[in-house]
Each structure stands twice: as C-alpha cells, then as structure tokens.
C-alpha cells in the first residue's frame, strides 16, 4: 500500500474517533460548554490537560529545536514542566476554591474592578492568539506533509479543520476527546522513539537509551551515544551537542519565562476549575505532569538520535569520508523522505560545487574553511532543514515501517488540534463570557452567548492563519513568545490576588498593563510590529538585542516589572476593602468549596 494511503487511513481513523466522542458528549448548556459540569476525575483531567497542553510546539517542534542546538535548548524541557509546580502550589487549589469559570472573573472579583477584568481579558486574548499562531505553523507542517502539498496550502486546509473541530463541542466534548487524543499522541511519539533507540543503542526505553552506549560499538572502544554525537557534529564544524554555548542570563530568564507563562495561560488554568474538589486540583496538576513527562523524558532522546541519524545519512562513509551522492538521494529508498519533504518547501538541497555530492557541514565555521577549500566545497549544500519537520520526518529518516509513519502523522495532528481547540475555547469564552456578557451586554441570552463565542473563535482563527503564513519563528519559538506575554501579565496578578491582601484594584491594573506593554513592545522591537518581518528595530540575537536579553526570554523581566509596579502603586493608594480581605481569607482554606457559580 502507498504511504499516502496509509497516512490517510491513520489520520481518518483517529479523526472518526475524536468526532464520535465529541458527538456522544456534546455540550448542551453554557455551563457544560465552559467547564464540563465539574464531574471530571483528577486522572482523567490530568490526561486531558496533558493533551491540551502538549501542542504542536511540544510534539512537532521541540525535539527539532533540541536536535540542532543540544543542551542550550534544555530550557524548553525544564520550562514547560517546571511551570506545573507553580500551578500546583500557587494557583490551582485557590482558584478552584474561588469557584468561577474563567481566570478574568477571578481577577475582576478579587480586584473589585471591571477595568481589571477587562485588562485581564485583553492580556488573555493577546497571549492566546500568539499561541494559536504557533499552533497554525505546526498544523501547516503536519497537513503539508500528510497531504503531500505545500506548507501554505496545508496551513489553509488545517485552519478550516481546526475551526470545524473547535466549534463542535465545548469543554465536555473536548475533555473526553482530549483523553483519546492523548493516547494517540503519546503512542505516536513513543513508538518510533522505541524503534530508533533499539536500533542505535539496544535499549528499548528512549529516555535511557540517550545515556547508553551505541549498539554497534561493542567491546573495547565502545562509545556513548552522546559522545559519538558530540564527535560527529564537531567534525562537521557545528557546536558540540552537550556543552553550553548560550550565556547563563538568557538561559535562566528563558527557562523562567516558560515556567511562569505555563502558570499564566488561561486554557491550562481553566482545567483546574473542572475538578470536583480543592484537593483534586492539587492532584490534577501532578497527574497532568505525569502524562506530560512521558513525552518530555523521551523528547531529548528523539532530538539527539535524529541528529545522529541525519548526520549518518548525509555522511554514509563517516564524517571524514565522502558525502552522500545526489544519485544515492534520488535512488536509494533510505533517502525517499528527502524528496517527500522537498514538496512541502521545508527541506532543500543544492549541489553548489557540482561534484555530484551533497556536503552537509557548518560553512560559518573557521575550522571547516580549510577542509572545504582543500575539497572544493562551496558552502553547506543541505540548504534548508526546517526544524519543525524533524519529529514528523523522524520515522522516515530511520526507515521505520510505514504504519509507524502513518501513526506519527495522526499524532502530530492530534497535538496541534487539541491545543488549538482548547485555546480557541479560552479566547471565545473570554470574549463572550467576560467581555460581552460580563461587561457590555449583561442581559444576553444563552443562545446569543454561544453564538458570539463561535464568532470570536472564527475571528481568532482567521487572524492566526494570516499571521501563521509568515510566522515569527519555528512553532515552539512562537509559542515561547506567547508564554512570555502570559508570564508578564496574568500570573503576577493571580498570585498577588491570592497571596497578598494589600494589592488593590489600581495596583493590579497598573501592574498588568506595565508588564504586558513592556513585554509586547520588547518582542515587537525584535520580531517586528505585529510580527511583520522587517519592521523590527533590533536584530533578534543576544548581541544585537536591546538589553542583551532575547525576545523569548523577556517575559520573566516583564513579570518582575508587573510585581514591582503593582506593589508600589498599591502601597501608595487606598487599602483594599474588608470584604476583599474576607474573600482572600476564604480562598485560602479549602473548607466550604461548593459547586461553582455562574455569576
């Protein structure tokens, strides 16, 4: 059977499963649409949170970014898991006790100010929309490959599917669908990794294989996988895999931004509103991280092993031998993936010096200049290798059976779709529930509320698709910007709302606005205004950046500004009223947490 047919079969079957579940558990009332009637068990909720959380950025993009930089991109691994500690300790139980549906409702009530609620809604919409842009980038890659069309066409088709999918049901449909999606995506991520780990190291657990000796080395002179990888990449003039090449300040701030951002993203926080009890909210965060860790412990192995496999394919006689010939790429079945991916426009090569071979090396490295000159090389000939294709191409690179390739296609789409749906839900509830019903038209009927929620979804996806056509970075990098924005705006307000009785309405509004504005302006100065290329004032590198801090790492600074401004302004204005102090007291103890109320 053709690979295309197999992919279609796997993707089709997984979609039929999700849609079947969505119909079976379709949302009826508004309360079900937003929070699934609070009947979700912590383990189920954890699994759904994991599916919701692990997006195109985690599944499709992250291992690729790690593969091509190694240690320096460990920030993604630490940052996107460490945030769950903040969630579990500082937010989840208290927000569950508070018992409303949305994050901005809490901010509006705690800071007794419709303005605070409005500002929170704006922060949520900006962060979530940036996040959806990153998802659309991943959706474009996945659909492009699976339908064997260009990345742009894949993105447009993907956008239609995401929209249809998100409109289908609310949280309840989404909760059980996401459990199914979790199962599909974790199998799709793990199975090829197990095969590859067995091939390279003989260890069936990829996370352990990463730190094992290579299988074919054997006997004396046997070598660890990571040592071998370090050696082959440095042979080709690339930076070593395991050493640090980034400055500590940027690495710490980037990791911290991702952590704080995790605890400030509405679609993740909303999950903890759907558990029955406060104690369940604590467990839920732990279970979510268990299911996330299954992928995150495997991801560094996927990255390292793929990098080794690619290098071996490009240099079949070893890094000191002859490079792969053009004829071999065209004829050998092991190189079929290169031709399939070339169709998407995300992979390309060019025989610059016309020697019939494709030399893959770092042409910016001084050490390689001598060897290149001696051999008549005229620059790196693997001219384009988009980081976002690595995970999806991985089973093909390792020549795995075609059913594994089909499974990975289904998994990649599951990851992108589940998160895009969750985000669209967060955006639509922010607009219809918080903005329209909460502020502008309080007497709106349930029917109109659902209608406006869907219109908001449509607008969000159109904006994300347009911006996704020229994304500000690879999927995970764009998503990292969204985390910076959430870190600088939402998390500090939530945390101060629970842990301080003194921070008042004026302080919270000033804090959120200054954190958001600072971070957004800093990102736009480096990435271009509204992410339009060429409109940036500073190059997006460590050396060229305004404060020596990369735009992806600035969220942590924005959060610090938010805290400082909110505190300073609060101290110089009127103290919070007694009923707010009582509210904070009641949020802090679990006793008396009832069903959540709508108003």
């Amino acid at each position: 059977m053709e690979q295309f047919t197999i992919n279609l079969l796997f993707v089709g079957a997984s979609f039929a499963l999700y849609i079947g579940i969505a119909i079976w558990a379709r949302a009826g009332s508004t309360s079900e649409f937003y929070a699934a009637g609070r009947g979700v068990h912590p383990v189920t909720n954890g699994m759904a949170t994991a599916a919701d959380w692990m997006s195109a950025a985690s599944f499709i993009s992250m291992a690729g970014l790690i593969a091509f930089t190694g240690y320096d991109n460990s920030s993604f691994l630490m940052g996107w898991t460490g945030g769950y500690v903040l969630l579990a300790l500082l937010l989840a139980p208290y927000l569950r006790k508070f018992g409303k549906y949305t994050v901005s409702e809490f901010i509006g009530d705690r800071f007794y100010s419709p303005t605070a609620r409005l500002v929170a809604v704006i922060c949520l919409i900006i962060a979530s929309t940036t996040y959806v842009i990153g998802q659309m980038t991943g959706v474009g890659v996945a659909f492009g490959r699976f339908l064997e069309i260009s990345n742009t066409a894949g993105l447009l088709i993907g956008a239609c599917v995401v929209f249809a999918y998100a409109v289908f049901g609310g949280m309840k449909g989404v909760t059980y669908t996401q459990v199914a999606q979790y199962v599909v995506l974790i199998l799709a991520y793990t199975i090829p990794a197990v095969f590859i780990s067995l091939q390279l190291t003989g260890n069936p657990i990829p996370g352990l294989g990463l730190f094992s000796e290579t299988a074919n080395a054997g006997g004396e002179g046997s070598v660890y996988l990571l040592q071998k990888l370090d050696q082959v990449v440095t042979d080709l003039g690339f930076a070593s895999y395991t050493e640090a090449h980034k400055d500590n300040l940027n690495m710490v701030l980037f990791t911290l931004s991702l952590m704080i951002g995790t605890a400030g993203l509405p679609h993740v926080i909303m999950r903890f509103f759907t558990v029955p009890k406060v104690s369940d909210a604590r467990w839920s965060a732990g279970w979510a991280l268990v299911f996330i860790a299954l992928l995150y412990l495997t991801a560094p192995a996927v990255g390292a092993m793929a990098r080794l496999n690619i290098t071996n394919l490009m240099w079949p006689d070893g890094t000191n031998g002859e490079a792969v010939s053009v004829q071999m790429i065209e004829e050998d079945a092991a190189y079929d993936w290169m031709e399939t991916w070339q169709k998407t426009g995300l992979l390309d090569w060019e025989d610059k010096n016309g020697d019939g071979r494709i030399q893959y090396y770092n042409d910016q490295s001084d050490a390689m200049a001598e060897r290149a000159a001696a051999n008549g090389w005229e620059g790196n000939e693997l001219t384009n290798f988009n980081r976002d294709i690595l995970v999806l191409a991985n089973p093909e690179i390792a020549s795995l059976p075609s059913w594994v390739i089909g499974l990975v296609a289904a998994g990649g789409l599951a990851a992108a779709l589940s998160t895009a749906a969750g985000l669209l839900l967060a955006i639509s509830s922010a607009v219809s529930h918080d903005l329209l019903k909460g502020q502008l038209t309080p007497n709106m009927s349930e029917k109109n509320e659902l209608l406006s929620a869907r219109i908001a979804m449509a607008i969000a996806i159109v904006v994300a698709t347009i911006l996704g056509l020229n994304p500000p970075g690879f999927a995970a990098q764009t998503v990292a910007l969204a985390f910076g924005l959430a870190a600088a705006s939402i998390f500090p307000a939530l945390m101060m709302g629970i842990f301080s009785k003194r921070v008042n309405n004026v302080g919270a509004v000033a804090g959120m606005l200054s954190g958001l504005t600072f971070t957004l302006v800093y990102i736009f100065l480096h990435k271009g205004w509204l992410f339009i290329a060429g409109t940036n004032s500073f190059p997006d590198t460590v050396d060229g950046s305004l404060f020596g801090i990369q735009s992806t790492a600035i969220g942590a600074v924005g959060a610090a500004i938010n805290f400082a401004v909110a505190y300073a302004v609060s101290m110089s204005t009127k103290d919070t009223p007694q009923e707010i102090k009582d509210l904070v007291e009641s949020v802090r103890v679990p006793a008396g947490a009832g069903e959540a109320v709508d108003h």
């Binding site: 630490m78 460490g82 300790l89 640090a244 990791t255 604590r282 965060a285 991280l289 412990l297 802090r588």
Partner: protein
C-alpha cells in the same frame, strides 16, 4: 482533628511547605542544571555530565516529586487543621 479550625495557623503551615518546595524547585533546574553545571562537571553520567542530565531529564523528575509531595502534605494539613471539604 483539631476542634477549632484556625485559618491563620493553617495558612502559616501552608506557606512553610510552599517555601521549602519552591527552594528545591529553583535550585535543581537553575542551580544544578545551569549555573552550577561547571562545578559538577566532574560527575559523569551516561557519556556526559550530571548537569546535562538534570537539564534534560532530572529536573522533570524532581518537579513531579515536589507536586505529589505537596498534594499529599496539604491534604494531611487540611485534616489536621479541620479545614478539609
């Protein structure tokens, strides 16, 4: 167990657990994984140094331990202070 729920004592106990947990949360990734990595480079593990392992896998396992410890400890504190649901 206690007859009279005392929210102040409960909150103080909660803050103690949070502080200890957050210190560990910060030291492992930022300390062992990044800043102190050169000092630990002597400890070899699987073809590389301890810091690399902490940055790529170790921190995640520590985060899991912290969350489950906190959930267990707090559910116990809830009962001890008579503030459980």
């Amino acid at each position: 167990m206690s007859e009279q729920p005392d929210p102040k004592a409960y909150w103080a106990a909660n803050m103690r657990v949070i502080k200890i947990s957050l210190v560990i949360w910060a030291i492992v990734p930022f300390g062992f994984g990044i800043l102190l990595r050169p000092m630990l480079s002597g400890i070899q593990i699987g073809g590389t140094d301890l810091g690399f392992w902490v940055a790529q896998q170790g921190s995640i396992l520590v985060f899991l331990a912290i969350i489950f410890f906190y959930a267990w400890r707090m559910n116990k504190l809830d009962r001890e202070h008579g503030v459980e649901e």
